[in-house]
């Protein structure tokens, strides 16, 4: 309670330095290191000055350390959401709060890092699911989500059909924009740890629509955009003088594609059908670009090819319906089969911020459908960290940044919740809007309205 109050509001900033200089020892814990040390059945982990300084079965508690008794609970690395709109979108159905799409005027150049609001209440909600880091990725349609099909909402339906580009005018605005990485640290005024970490590209059905109607058009337009970016990179001064041929994309968008064609920044490709996945693998090889696959509902069919290409995938393990003609072969063990084939699999919760905290349950679902437990744990920690180049987090090893979660039980289980969350060694406040509402109404009504 006191901790909660201390970390609330303006105090959090003032305490940042003091807290990160603190030494914390979490004792009596089952420690899932998600590293070479594996599972430590009962041990101690020490966090000093924001780093993990000791972890093991026989670690002694440093003198002066604040001790947190995990009471036999489980300690894991903080979870990393591999693709989300957290902080860039607040309420799916309220357009004014949605900043995770490029809109009509931009494509690859859109930079979601500028959209992120560190004060968004949904960040604390995600943290309550053990999430301490996330890749924030733009979406083609303007983002949001969470609307139900039975809403009869013509407006939202139209938005899904609405493309980032003006289809048919030769403008290959297939690209959704540039992704960013964030850490879910309360009180930080800037939670973006790295911007421009990938360019998102929707192919398959969504890409076909954006390209004016077909997959064949989409791939041709992507190749054309890469060619334009290469020409632009070769001779910027000609472009400035207006001495080049017309490019399909604006200068802003071409700039964003340069690190992609140089192989420095990955393309995050959203694709679902097996044949589309194979087309993308081929495209990546031909164009010599690095890719990450997201969606990949039929990935299991092309698992060997994906593994051979060394391409990581981001999977929603719940996606088992033939809900479109590009997901006819969806199945619950997609993640397990891909992982078994040697593919690096990251498991996502719902892309949408408000269900992000269910990421851990999706990892549990993967276990229920054949993925080894340790692999499932890695799929929400070490693997997304590796995919996104977050080398300082994702495992519990000495020297790593102390993004650590203490759970009251198995972190992948329905009846478990986090009892303490650390970001950069700093214990995070447990209060958030939903819990305040809960506590207001969980107590008996008094003579005065609850607003008092």
């Amino acid at each position: 309670m006191i901790r909660t109050m201390l970390f609330g509001g303006a105090c959090a900033l003032a305490l940042t330095t003091a807290a990160s200089a603190e030494t914390v020892a979490i004792t009596n814990a089952k420690i899932e290191t998600v590293a070479a040390a594996g599972t430590i059945a009962s041990g101690v982990i020490v966090l000093t000055d924001g780093k993990i300084t000791a972890v093991g079965a026989n670690v002694s508690v440093p003198s002066g350390a604040r001790v947190i008794d995990a009471k036999g609970g489980v300690v894991t690395p903080g979870l990393i959401a591999p693709s989300s709109n957290l902080g860039a979108s607040e309420i799916g159905g309220v357009r004014e709060t949605r900043d995770d799409g490029s809109g009509t005027e931009m494509s690859a150049g859109f930079d979601i890092a500028y959209s992120i609001n560190p004060d968004s209440p949904v960040i604390a909600l995600a943290r309550d699911g053990g999430v301490t880091g996330a890749a924030i990725t733009p979406t083609l349609s303007g983002g949001g989500g969470g609307a139900h099909r039975d809403d009869g909402d013509a407006e939202l339906e139209a938005l899904q059909n609405y493309t980032a580009g003006r289809a048919g005018d030769g403008d290959p605005r297939l690209f959704a924009g540039q992704a960013a990485l964030i850490r879910l640290a309360a009180g930080d005024t800037d939670i973006v740890t790295k911007a421009k970490v990938a360019v998102a590209l929707d192919l398959g059905q969504a890409g076909a629509r954006a390209a004016g109607g077909s997959r064949g058009a989409a791939i041709v337009l992507v190749k054309s955009a890469f060619e334009d970016a290469r020409a632009f990179a070769r001779n910027r001064s000609a472009f400035e003088k207006g001495a080049t041929r017309d490019f399909g994309l604006s200068r802003i968008d071409l700039e964003a594609l340069i690190p992609v064609i140089e192989g420095k920044t990955p393309l995050l490709v959203r694709v679902r059908r097996a044949s589309d996945i194979r087309q993308v693998l081929k495209l990546a090889a031909e164009e010599k670009v690095k890719i990450i696959l997201e969606g990949a509902e039929e990935g299991w069919i092309a698992a060997a090819d994906i593994a051979k290409a060394g391409v990581p995938v981001i999977i929603d393990t719940q996606a088992d319906l033939p809900d479109s003609f590009e997901t006819l072969a969806s199945r619950l063990d997609n993640a397990a089969r891909l992982q078994a084939a040697g593919v690096a699999v990251a498991i996502t919760g719902s892309r949408d911020f408000n269900n992000l905290r269910l990421q851990r349950l999706n990892a549990g679902l993967a276990v229920a459908n054949g993925m080894p437990y340790q692999a499932a744990l890695a799929s929400v920690t070490a693997v997304p960290a590796k995919i996104w180049g977050m080398s300082s987090v994702g495992t519990l090893e000495v020297g790593k940044t102390a993004d650590v979660v203490v759970w009251n039980g198995d972190p992948l289980e329905t009846t478990t919740w986090p009892t303490a969350v650390f970001v950069g060694g700093q214990q995070q406040p447990t209060e958030y809007r939903g819990l305040k509402l809960r506590d207001r109404y969980a107590r008996p009504a008094g003579a005065y309205p609850r607003a008092y």
Binding site: I91, H148, R149, D151, G152, A154, T327, L332, G364, T415
Partner: protein, 477 residues
């Protein structure tokens, strides 16, 4: 117009009869109305042709049993025969010698899961425009449409839901309209017709929708309703028409009964549905997120003499749990979906638990072809959110949120929803504690017939659509 004329005719007949000097009125024998013109005469249209799957007398022994009547029985016995539950009890429960015995050691048994809010069949997979049959978005009041006429029984989603233990579903029209139309309750068995799934004897519901959806859909077309107050005016106008229509039919029947001359009102499908509510035959299933709007909807019911059966998507039930308890209105909610639109902004994980502790009839529903496959886990999240604040809700209680309580809210609580002798043998055998993320439905019985078996491909039905597709039967392992 015609209705009005018919009524005027009836009035003049009455005036004639009332003349003081006239002879006593001649007895009139009114001919029965032709089929289709009398809303309550003759066989119900689109009647159920449901036939239970073949079954045999079966005893599941040694499992942990959640009866959905508040009991958790360790090392229990569930015995069913002839499609009905015969006995449920501890290890000593007698079982006849010649029945099939399933070893349930280490496993759990619950009643079949009931999803009180589904759009399977009306928003089918694959979700293409040609099968977008859930919302008749052409008028704020479409009480005349029946969801059953949109149901595509080959939706692969039914198979996925069954593999998640779902044995009964209420299929609703969408929420674009103030009155979306009639719901239908289905037994989750494969069938090539809707009638073959229709739950025998289940009452209809009418889908009503509060809040943002109707006013956004119609306000966007510059017609009423465009505001919350416009919504309420729309409900009230509809109930006034329904009450008037009911009065005309009641008058007509009273006259026929007395042998007086009577002209029948013209049948109106829209008003039929609403009259059914006023007659207590059709249940009100009301999509309503906000607590304050639920309070208004309850008052509309009082104004026109009907009761709301259940509020759906009631993410703010926790604010009005005492009211829901007092008025005996069930509420259905998700545990974990919230914040995706303005009217769901105040949704909290502990919603169900808080309203449950206030005494309200609690239901966890899906509204979603993915979540319906794991309603057991959604109930677990709702339970855990309560237990996180020390409510000590146990599995024996929480299982009712996805079984006995939705059965009650669908008006089939006397037929299914709990493991009680005499009820339908809708039974799920789970691989482990059904409140665990690792639990899977191993065997699903519907009316005593084995409808799904995770370990036997013979009992893993594929819909017509799935045959020959890349994903044929892909959800099985």
């Amino acid at each position: 117009m015609l209705t009005g004329l018919a009524f005027a005719g009836a009035s003049s007949a009455y005036a004639q009869a009332a003349k003081p000097a006239a002879k006593p009125a001649e007895k009139v024998v009114t001919k029965p109305l032709p089929a289709g013109l009398d809303p309550s005469a003759g066989a119900a249209p689109f009647a159920s042709t449901y036939k239970p799957l073949p079954g045999r007398a079966t005893a599941i022994v040694g499992a942990t049993v959640l009866t959905a009547t508040g009991q958790q029985i360790e090392n229990g016995v569930v015995f069913f025969s002839g499609g009905k539950i015969v006995s449920v009890g501890g290890a000593g429960t007698a079982v006849p010698a010649d029945v099939a015995v399933i070893d349930g050691k280490g496993k759990w048994v619950t009643p079949g899961v009931i999803d009180a809010h589904s759009h399977l069949g009306v928003y089918s997979s694959p979700g293409v425009q040609a099968r977008s049959d859930g919302n008749e978005v052409t008028d704020p009041n479409t009480a005349q449409v029946w969801a059953e006429h949109s149901v595509w029984p080959h939706d692969p989603g039914f198979n996925r839901a069954r593999a998640g233990g779902v044995t009964t579903l209420q299929i609703l029209p969408g929420s674009a309209n103030l009155f979306g139309g009639r719901s239908v309750t289905l037994k989750n068995v494969p069938s090539h017709t809707m009638q073959g799934m229709k739950f025998p004897g289940a009452p209809y519901g009418v889908k009503m929708a509060c809040g943002e959806n109707p006013k956004r859909v119609y306000g966007g077309r510059s017609r009423a309703p465009s505001t919350a107050m416009g919504n309420v005016a729309g409900y009230r106008a509809a109930w006034i028409n329904a009450a008037d229509y009911k009065r005309k039919w009641d008058d007509y029947r009273a006259k026929v009964e007395k042998g007086e001359k009577a002209d029948a009102p013209k049948r109106d499908l829209q008003l039929d549905t609403l009259m059914g509510v006023l007659n207590g035959e059709i249940l009100v299933q009301n999509h309503c997120y906000r607590g304050d709007e639920m309070a208004v909807m309850i008052d509309i019911g009082k104004e026109f003499g009907y009761r709301t059966t259940m509020f759906h998507h009631a993410v703010e039930a926790y604010k009005v749990g005492d009211l829901l308890a007092k008025e005996d209105v069930c509420f259905a909610t998700w545990a974990s979906w919230q914040g995706f639109k303005m009217e769901s902004l105040d949704g909290i994980d502990a919603n169900a638990a808080i309203a449950y502790k206030a005494g309200a009839c609690t239901v966890i529903h899906s509204d979603d072809p993915i979540m319906t496959q794991r309603l057991n886990q959604e109930a677990a999240l709702a339970m855990a959110a309560g237990n996180r604040i020390g409510m000590n809700i146990n599995r024996a209680e929480a299982i009712a949120w996805i079984t006995a309580n939705p059965a009650k809210a669908l008006g089939i609580g006397d037929k299914t929803g709990s493991l009680v002798a005499g009820k339908a043998a809708d039974v799920v055998l789970w691989s482990s504690d059904p409140f665990s993320v690792y639990a899977k439905a191993e065997k699903v019985f519907i009316d005593g017939g084995l409808a799904y078996d995770r370990n036997d491909p013979q009992y893993q039905p594929k819909s017509d659509f799935e045959l020959g597709q890349p994903g044929e039967g892909a959800f099985h392992q």
